[in-house]
Amino acid sequence: MFTEVLIVGLSLGAIYALIAIGYSMVYGILKLMNFAHGDVYAFGSFICYMLLVKYNFNPILSIIIAMIIGGLLASIVEILAYRPLRAPEYRNISMISALGVAYIIQNTSENIWSRQVHFFPSIVSNPFVSIFGIKVPTTQYLTLGIVILVVGGLNLFLKHHKIGKAILCASQDIPAASLMGIPINRTISIVYLLGGMLGVIGGVLYASSYNVLSISMGFSGTIVAFEASVFGGIGSINGALLGALILGLLHSLVGFYISTAYRDVITFAILIIVLLVRPKGILGRYVEEKV
């Protein structure tokens, strides 16, 4: 049984990772807590749901369309609501504007798809596979595979592609990066686009492994993304991945062996303890403050 719980936890963590990486990237570049992140991915997942169930699209095609819409939505939000407030003295205020955007998206999707919980069809035909005698839903293996691909690809993209390098530069120092000729506005839009797209994959995978989809997933997704990136050290992609995997394991282990009701309380308490020991998260480096 333990192995099954472990694999479920890892794949849950992998889904969290997809949501958390986008969140953490945005934080890394703008130091902005994007409260609208969860609602953007919930919106994208609903688009995928609509295409799959109502219009009987091919699963892969509908995921791709949903990803594009989710990514575009994230960058439109950035242009309209965050860009005017990008100055450092408005940092806290842009967080509130993000919250306003979260309300707008949440309410819009509520009016389109209603608040109830929807049944989300599984995107794979064969629900269970058994490898080495352990029977686990196929989507969970699929999730693990997709996450390994995405994180690997993202790391390569950031290290070797021109735009990826621009993102890394901008996350270190925006004014210096713009002095070096990096188009800051475009780079930030791309970060939001990527974050939205990754979030939508995570949302669709979550919905299809648990067969449920609801509006409230958005806000809880924001919290999960937040928790995971803080666990690992906010701002770094590998930190978000590590944090999300730990969080997924904790959720499944605590939920299975201790108590479902207190699952979140226990993980939150562990988070506080981690922050006490390592105030910048597990992989976070302590940066000396300069005057």
Binding site: K31, M33, F35, L80, A81, P84, L85, P88, E89, Y90, N92, I93, M95, I96, S97, L99, G100, V101, A102, Y103, I104, Q106, N107, T108, E110, N111, F219, I223, F226, E227, V230, I234, A261, Y262, D264, V265, F268, A269, L271, I272, L275, L276, P279, K280, E289, V291
Partner: protein
Amino acid sequence: MKKNKNIMAIILAVALSFLVPSIVKNYYWLGIFNLILMYSILGLSLNLIFGFTNLLSVGHAAFYGIGAYTTAILLTRYNFSFFPALILSGLVAVFFSLILSISTSRVRGDYFTVITIVFGEIFRLVMQNWVSFSNGAVGIVGIPAPQFFSWRIISEKDFYFLGLVIFWFTYITLNLLVNSKFGRAFIAIREDELAASAMGVHTVMYKILSFSIGVFYAGLAGSYYAVYNTAIAPSSFTLDESCLIIIMIVLGGIGNLTATIPGVIIMLVATEAFRPLYHYRLLMIGLIMVVLLVRYPYGILGIFNKITSMRKKYIYRKV
């Protein structure tokens, strides 16, 4: 001269506010006034923490909830009278904030925000699941009406007066505080924590002080809410509620106590005014927030300063 003028204005405002129930007889409007008073107390106290000391606490609803639960439990199970329970509610909230401060003294900036969010969620989940203590998701019902000598506080009008007393107490004491040595230390921390510590401000102590003082008033507001509503449940103290309080003070203008009140009024009146548009209410509120803040990042205060062209006086800039 200016100080005397301010004192006169406050005395006038206090006198006028006590006359309101003799003009407004409608209980619906009095109910809204009561909510405005309660959220003003919450907003003022959070403005001390966030607007003056730059500690973004997203767990204010938890402290407000701690106050509410303290009063509810003391009144229904231990037959306390209201006023000791009111003070104890504030103190219990302070006690929890001090426990939290052990962790917050080590972390800073956004990690402080994380810890307050997490604390708020822990509070809500524990209240929801610890049925023997808090009666779970149903909450505590039948909280008795407070009694002050022969004055039994039961109608909207009575609660208006009670809320008003707590509100003016909050407003005046907080104004005295931010204009004192402590307030200047808080502002120094907001402007530049490193510079403040270099100038000899004990930043950790002052941050804990600001946080626990703000939380005390949140406990009072919670206590007021418990007796006013006569029933409390964990669903009233969610993360959304904490966000609502932050929205109010940001719409009003952070770092100015008086500006909090128009922010509170706008949010509550908008909530009421958009009630007929039930399905689109959150959308309208979100639109107001985004449009107003993108145009005027300092909220109502920003508009006001632009009109009176006193902008230079309040805007602070960091490089």
